[in-house]
Structures are given as C-alpha cells and as structure tokens.
C-alpha cells in the first residue's frame, strides 16, 4: 500500500533518515519514470537500468531539491539527462521517421493487421508501439504531456527549453505520431484516431 503523504513530506522524512519514505516515493513514481526511460532506451532491461540509476541519483541529490518545482518535474529532468547520457554512451541508433528500416517494420506490421490482430490488441498498445518508434525527443515530449501530466512550462523545465519551443515540439511530435499511425495502420487508423 502506498503512502498518502505528499511528495514533499516523503522527501522530508527521507532527509531525516527514513529510507522507507524514499521507497514509497519510488513506488509512486516508478511506472512513469520507467515509461519515460523506455522512450529513450527501447529495451526493458536498459530502461530499468536507467530508471534505477535516476532514482539513486535523485536520492543522492535530494537535499538540493529546493521545492520550487514539482518533485516529478525535477525527477523527470534527471531521467532526461540520464537517458541522454545513456544514449550517448551506448550510441543507440534511433529510428528516424523516414528510415528505411522503420518502413519495413511498418510494412510488416500492417500485413499482420490483415489477420485482425488489431482487434486482439488494445489501442493503447498500438499507440505505445508507434510512440516507441518516434525519435526519443518526440516520444519523451508526448509521454511527459499525456502521461506525466506536465504543463508546457514544466516540460520546458525538464527538457531545458522554452515553453513556446515545447509547444512547437509537441505539435510536431503529435503530427509525426499521427503520420506513423496512418502509415502502419492504414484503415484501422480511422477507428484509432
């Protein structure tokens, strides 16, 4: 059972030496942090490694958290920085929207849909799949806006950009996602979007 205390209260307890309070904080945010890490790492194992690393870094720097922004915003900025460092280290080849390989993947997916697989899988699954094939920045901004319930100002803080730039990036990311879904799902997309 998760704690009903606020993030700030849990942070204060953690700073006074109560590690169980930090465990509660981890439980509260782990799903989203993991999802955000998945947007960059593309693999569950790597994403878990990044997400764990983020929580440990956050614990290490917890005393420097000023409380001027939401804890989640601060935490997501750690996720973003850690994931970017991870990508640089691993030199993961991110799929471009116009990438040839991506197109092959999409072709294969659409042939699978002919067998009414679409009915078996949830809409959320296809959306997540399509987001997973976006560039990490696009995927992250959509995830932060819709799942992380972050405002454009908060997204700007997390990604280190201006809120207006965040707005433009979000618009373009949604456009690319829609194009991706249209390419991969063809007819089914009308039901989906």
């Amino acid at each position: 059972m998760q704690s009903k205390l606020s993030d700030i209260e849990l942070i204060q307890q953690t700073l006074s030496g109560n590690q169980a309070a930090y465990a509660d904080l981890v439980k509260r945010h782990q799903r989203f942090v993991f999802t955000l890490a998945m947007r960059f790492c593309k693999g569950r194992e790597d994403a878990e490694e990044v997400a764990q690393d983020c929580f440990i870094k956050a614990y290490r720097s917890l005393s420097s958290f000023q409380g001027q922004s939401k804890f989640s915003t601060w935490l997501y900025s750690i996720v973003y920085t850690t994931a970017m460092t991870f990508l640089r280290k691993k030199r993961v080849d991110t799929d471009s929207i116009d990438d040839e390989n991506t197109y092959i993947q999409l072709e294969n997916q659409s042939s699978g849909l002919d067998n009414n697989i679409a009915e078996k899988r949830s809409r959320s699954y296809y959306l997540n799949e399509a987001i997973g094939r976006l560039l990490p920045d696009d995927a992250a901004i959509i995830t932060l806006f819709y799942m992380g319930e972050q405002s454009l100002e908060e997204i700007g803080q997390t990604l280190g950009i201006d809120p207006n730039t965040a707005k433009v990036k979000l618009f373009r990311a949604r456009q690319r996602l829609k194009e991706k879904l249209e390419k991969s799902l063809k007819e089914e997309v009308k039901e989906l979007i």
């Binding site: 465990a23 981890v26 993991f34 994403a47 809409r123």
Partner: protein, 167 residues
C-alpha cells in the same frame, strides 16, 4: 499564420487566448472542414490521454533501495562522520596547544645576556630518542601511506561527483 491543425491543437490544449478561443468556436460551428478536423484531433487527444504507463519488474523498488543502501555504504568517511565530532576534536587540540604555549611562555626568563627556560619540577619531558626507533618509524610511514590513500580516494570521489549529474 498558424495552420488549421496548429490552431486546433492550441484550442484543445487550452493554450490559446480568449479571442482565439472564440474565433475557433465559431469556425468549428460554421466550417465543416474545421469541425471534422476538430473531431479527429480531439479523438486522437483522448486516445493519447488514455495511454497507460509501462510496469517495471516486480523487484524494481527493492533494487533501487539496494542501490540506495550501497550508496550509504560507499559514502566517504568525511561525509559519514558527524561534523560536531570533528569540531570537538579540533577544539580539544586547539585548547591543549594554547594551554601548553601559555605555560611555556609564562616560564620564559629572557635576560640580555642569557636565555633559559625553567620548566616546573613536576613536568618531565620524555626523551624522544626512546620512542623514535625503527619500529615506530615503520608504523609512522604505514599510517602516512594509509592516510595518503584515503585522501586520494576522497579526491577521486569528489571529482567523480562533480562529473555526475547535478540537478
């Protein structure tokens, strides 16, 4: 000039101003193209809002807390020791050295022709030659080597810490 889609997204996200909102309200009500596009984008927006977050493995929290505990174990001695203890020890040495200096200075008899120090009868200064021998020197150098390693370790940790993420 913003495209229709851009204007509609601003409307859906609630980031446009009041005048723009009213203008788009009118366009949706009167223009079929706008109305159809609005429905499409709104549906897409709702689908995105319904997305569910991924679930990490069962032992995720446990692994994080293991990492946190390891972090505590790796904490350098400098950070682990209560600073008040360090201050107390420093204070003790400062007071002792000051008292010894005062005692020594009070027993100094300086005359123009001669200079002599008269220590109290009861104060016996140990003969250092009895203590400084090969074994003691070995211990001294060993202690110095350990101290040097600890200091190098602390320095490297600080450098690593600076390179790590600073939110």
């Amino acid at each position: 000039m913003n495209t229709m889609e851009e204007r509609l997204w601003s409307y859906i996200d609630g980031t446009c101003d009041e005048n723009e909102r009213k203008a788009i309200d009118t366009l949706i009500a009167t223009d079929k193209t706008y109305s159809a596009k609005f429905e499409e984008l709104l549906n897409f927006d709702q689908q995105l809002s319904k997305m569910e977050a991924e679930e990490p493995s069962m032992g995720f929290t446990y692994k994080v807390m293991e990492g946190v505990r390891a972090e505590h174990a790796r904490q350098p001695l400098k950070a682990a020791i209560n600073k008040n203890i360090i201050k107390g020890i420093s204070g003790f040495f400062i007071v002792t050295i000051s008292l010894m200096l005062i005692l020594m200075l009070s027993t100094l008899h300086i005359t123009p022709v001669s200079f002599s120090v008269h220590l109290p009868e009861t104060l016996k200064i140990p003969d250092l030659k009895n203590y400084v021998n090969g074994k003691v020197l070995n211990y001294f150098f060993f202690f110095d080597a350990v101290l040097a390693l600890v200091l190098v370790d602390a320095y490297l940790r600080r450098r690593k810490g600076k390179q790590a993420f600073k939110p």
